[in-house]
Symmetry: C2
Subunit: 687 residues, 2 copies
């Protein structure tokens, strides 16, 4: 009853999509090269992608993607184990081993790295061994881990304790007689909870636990802990493991729990590169507390790029669909219905999202450059840029993940009813993306880390001390304090990069000054600093957010100015202007009120910005599809009937639906779901 | 390996929750009565709820809710068929038949009405027969439908056509010889797509199709169409049916597709209460086009109340959890960690959400009163209030569903990592709630319907004509045009209801005037009205949104003022102030810039509003748990380990996890997931 239909060589939607590509103002392929670091890098990406899609059996876009033929939770986990194994085999055969290899990042980003039960083995277990294990420890474990003879995870979070590491309860008590640690979970809240692959996959974990020696607590350290027998995978004595249950997304991953009941491991299992414990129980402190920040910066830079990618994916799907979907009429007697994308509201919702994806993407590369510079400096024991990079990436991670998560959902809503179908690709994208707002530091907490740096920087500015480049604008604090106004006299003025940056810098400076003033007033009144910080948290977070947008706009402007191809440059400039001015004028853009609440911009200037935005939307509209094409997502990567490159959305929805197990089974039973009918519907009908 | 743990009589979390309830400033139970229309109504709700939970086997909150033991899609559908059958049996036994019965609304709202495969039978099929079928038709079908001898759905949306009814392609061609209609789906895009229960449950549908008589198209009409044999449930000849595949949520419902291949039904099957076709093919027009608006208003009023309920549920979960979850420290040397709820950022994120739930809830009742008045008027053929009610409910539906959907996700993020677990209850709540933003009219389209009314009303105001009460404020357009400013001199002034309302009315008036001005300028330049409307859509939508907030604030203020119990009144006043001032001062509140971009509020006034908000947060903090308690959700209704009334969150997370099929099976196999290990993990380990 629910057979699929013949796929047309062409139809109205396919023709409509062809029209969208007829007259781009720039060369889409050349923009792809610009986005991903040149032609060679793009070809490498494509090789990896094609090989993966071939092995995963995802090359036929008329076949329902396996994501949408989900079994129960257990089957989903097994399918994750299988997919992960295939991805690993590609990595092996293409010799992509190093997590910091950009190809590896791509490999995993494209294929749901964290959703793989082996994900943390690659992204956390091996890197931890590399950076925190001593040479002897690496000799014992690193090779085995790289050859997958052991599978590890990283167990830090506990049921009752999240990012606040000092709160962890798990103990590792040193038994000086037997030269062993006794690992123990003293309470229910100390149960390790959330680590990926912990439930039924991993054989080992780096367990973060409080080191206790002769009743003294030395704080949290890492311990290489065998969890399961390498013979039959059974949990070792005293080890209680399981899966934490279903989640919003990530259901192919066995995020797990772990309870340790007086589990003994030898002295040599404590990670010993920096701090170490001697046989007699003497403790040796790490030389520098900031050594592990490097990895954190790297992980966050990647999160920026992943955020851009997720947002670009969502924009690709929604924009392509809006360019073939017709609904209603702008004019009462027009021929045929109007494409969604020709409604101003759709342009106003989608094109700024796309501009954010570009802005964030370029910022990601900008930060990667900072990271590479940091690595060079750290090699020479130069820690000077660590605070600014840490502050910058904290704020960026918080801003980017929030914008991307909200943007994916907005793009989904832009697809109307069909956006609610899993076949749109958007529900899965959203559910798998949103944990980014929480993991690697909750966004509202991270902004405060940026804020601490900004308050310090403002003090330095006032004291006339040198400032890091990214906060050099704070030198202008006096003019801000005197209530400077934008000097823009026309819409044209608002397109000048210096004018744009100045507005963003003014906002950030003002908010940092206001927050600092609130803290200072409290200090004079004798309030404790920490209490005062909590009271003014929102002001501090706003300041951090405003500064983060200065960083992004700077990165975007620099990228536009460095672009040599004139056509690319022209379209990127439009996107950059849209990004900037939308954030200023749109009442729907979070925190846009901050540009006007101190009258920095007058009502007339806001109207100019708004007119510019509407003009930019009209200018960018004809380039919409070529712009999303430039992101170069394959149909398989999008997993979306609506986002198909060729525009054939309706036949795809129909054909994918006909391939679901429910329909396939009913087709064999005369168009009836016999079990549901017999057990339930029949009874209802018969009363 | 993953046995559950003993549930403690008490623990730190349970004690912590008890503390939260020790000193409320008001009586929580009395607020419950106020919320739901008095003690009797509350007791009726509780009776229904208790009976339902008993029959559904949901009374033990230490048992994992069946929602989280999801099988594959087919099993989910079967479980929907079963749950729906139980809900029906409660309705039968408690004699709750009428969809417009408030108890029925409650019954379905509480237990996922639309997710039931029988949902549309009750909410659309029966009401359509009641309102649009002739007496003879009712005699033939209504009794059968009410006794569930037939199960119906409502098939309007098509694969290529959504809310734009005129675009529908399905045809019903009258064959005057045989006195039959021939129903046909001429294209793939004409396939009916989305109707609930259509896939494998329903036996009948009201099919919306273009009536064609002698080559003349009379537009879209409804046809009662048998789909399946009442003997064996097989699709009737020419009828092709199936399930449309997995969705974001609603997976217990077989939202379906339907293709009709020259299917013949008799003349008497065309819905004939208003328009009818005579045997000879003579068509009789309906007397008044607005007759079906009554039901639409009712459905939207219910959506307002459901929005409040969904938002209140999410707030309940996040606030309760934040009151027992401890994380980090405000002060460096404090005893123990700080409750999440004591961080200013958490208060700033959650308490305004809660205030919105109250605001929306009271607005829902306010609209229900308008609806009852409308019914009385319609009985006397008085259509005068229809335009204003239609405009008001359109804007409210758009605003409320947006705020509730965004609010649920924000509440989820406020729960940190555990918010991502399905056991938080929030992922399911979100996924099942979000389609509300799209169905019954896409939000961005609905705001435009409100805008049309506002533009007309402004013209009436300028012409000195009488205005509906809800837009009477437009009479003040002159002062607005002259750039009036808020006269508030102190924070205290900003708590005066008239001052608050005036600010909201000023904003709405200004935006309506600006939008009207843009249209007028275009008109003078000779632009076509519809083109001009599309160009200024965003301005029009903003105007409609601003007006909607006037309606809500008015309803909230009226409810506060009508409250007799002094303690209830005091706490509601605080919530009302928070709702109002947060929307003015917070840069995170959408469109707050509109209060400052014309300098209606000065920077000093915004700072006063902000100080008030922070003061209100501190005042409301001790009442947080009693306030969410007042919404009176049972543990079973929340389906949340984090939102449990007693605060026992961690033991619940652990115990529910131990009950998942994956863990239960592994427990029997020595703590190993034997299938996953043998098929996949072992292979990886062995290389």
């Amino acid at each position: 009853m629910s057979k699929g239909i013949h796929v047309s060589a062409t139809n109205a939607q396919i023709e409509s999509m062809k029209d969208e590509r007829k007259n781009p103002s720039f060369d889409s392929r050349s923009l792809t090269f610009l986005l991903y670091g040149g032609e060679k890098a793009v070809r490498t990406r494509e090789e990896i992608r094609d090989e993966l899609e071939r092995r995963l059996g995802e090359t036929d876009n008329n076949k329902i993607p396996h994501t949408y033929v989900r079994g129960d939770r257990t089957e989903q986990y097994h399918s994750g184990l299988e997919t992960g194994r295939i991805v690993q085999s590609v990595a092996q055969d293409m010799q992509i081993f190093d997590f910091e290899d950009e190809r590896q990042a791509l490999l995993f980003a494209a294929y749901h790295r964290e959703a793989s039960p082996y994900g943390l083995h690659t992204s956390m277990f091996i890197p931890t061994l590399k950076t925190q294990a001593s040479e002897e420890q690496q000799k014992e474990w690193l090779g085995k881990a790289q050859r997958r003879e052991i599978l590890g995870t990283y167990a830090q979070t506990e049921l009752g304790h999240g990012t606040f590491v000092r709160g962890l309860e798990t103990t590792a008590t040193y038994d000086v007689e037997r030269k062993e640690f006794v690992l123990h979970s003293p309470t229910i809240t100390s149960t390790k909870w959330w680590p990926g692959g912990l439930g039924y996959t991993s054989t080992h974990a780096v367990v973060m636990a409080r080191l206790i020696v002769k009743d003294k607590d030395y704080g949290v350290h890492g311990f290489i802990t065998p969890l399961r027998s390498l013979d039959d995978h059974r949990p070792l004595p005293g080890v209680i493991l399981g899966d934490i249950g279903p989640k919003f997304g990530y259901n192919a991953n066995d995020n797990g729990f772990l309870r340790l009941d007086q589990v003994r491991i030898p002295l040599k299992n404590m990670l010993a590169r920096f701090s170490r414990l001697h046989e007699d129980g003497t403790y040796e402190k790490p030389p520098h507390a900031k050594l592990s920040y490097g990895t954190m910066v790297f992980v966050r830079s990647n999160m920026i790029l992943n955020g851009a990618s997720a947002l670009a994916k969502a924009s690709t799907i929604a924009i392509r669909y809006s360019c073939v979907r017709e609904q209603g009429m702008v004019q009462p007697k027009q021929a045929g219905e109007t494409k969604l994308m020709n409604y101003k509201s759709q342009q106003y919702r989608l094109l700024p999202l796309l501009s954010h994806a570009f802005a964030i993407h370029f910022t990601g590369f900008y930060i990667l450059d900072m990271y590479k510079d940091l690595l060079r400096r750290l090699d020479g024991s130069d820690f000077s840029t660590l605070p600014v990079i840490h502050a910058t990436t904290s704020g960026l991670k918080a801003y980017v993940t929030t914008v991307a998560a909200d943007g994916i959902e907005e793009a989904r809503k832009c697809c109307g009813g069909h956006g609610y179908s899993q076949f749109s690709g958007l529900p899965t994208l959203f559910a798998d993306y949103v944990p980014s707002c929480t993991f690697e530091g909750d966004n509202w907490v991270l902004f405060q880390q940026t804020a601490r740096f900004l308050i310090k920087s403002l003090k330095a500015a006032v004291a006339g001390k040198p400032l890091a480049a990214s906060v050099a604008y704070l030198k202008g604090y006096r003019a801000v304090g005197e209530g400077q106004k934008s000097q823009a006299k026309s819409g044209q003025d608002l397109l000048i990069p210096q004018v744009q940056l100045k507005a963003f810098e003014h906002r950030a400076t003002r908010l940092i000054m206001e927050a600092a003033q609130l803290l200072e007033t409290d200090r004079k009144a004798g309030k404790q600093y920490e209490i005062s910080w909590n009271a003014h948290m929102i002001d501090l977070i706003r300041a951090a957010r405003a500064h983060t947008l200065v960083v992004i706009l700077t990165a975007f402007i620099e990228r536009v100015e460095a672009t040599t191809d004139e056509k690319n440059k022209r379209v990127l400039k439009k996107l950059c202007d849209l990004f900037c001015l939308y954030n200023i004028e749109s009442p729907f853009a979070p925190c846009s009120s901050e540009f006007v609440e101190d009258s920095y911009f007058s009502p007339a200037q806001i109207r100019m910005a708004r007119d510019n935005v509407h003009h930019l939307l009209s200018e960018l509209r004809p380039d919409a599809v070529p712009l999303v094409d430039a992101w170069n997502f394959s149909d398989a990567a999008l997993e979306s009937a609506l986002g198909r490159r060729d525009g054939n959305v309706y036949e795809t929805l129909y054909n994918w639906a006909s391939q679901t197990p429910l329909n396939q089974k009913a087709a064999k039973e005369g168009g009836v779901d016999v079990e549901g009918y017999t057990k339930h519907v029949k009874k209802v009908l018969e009363g």
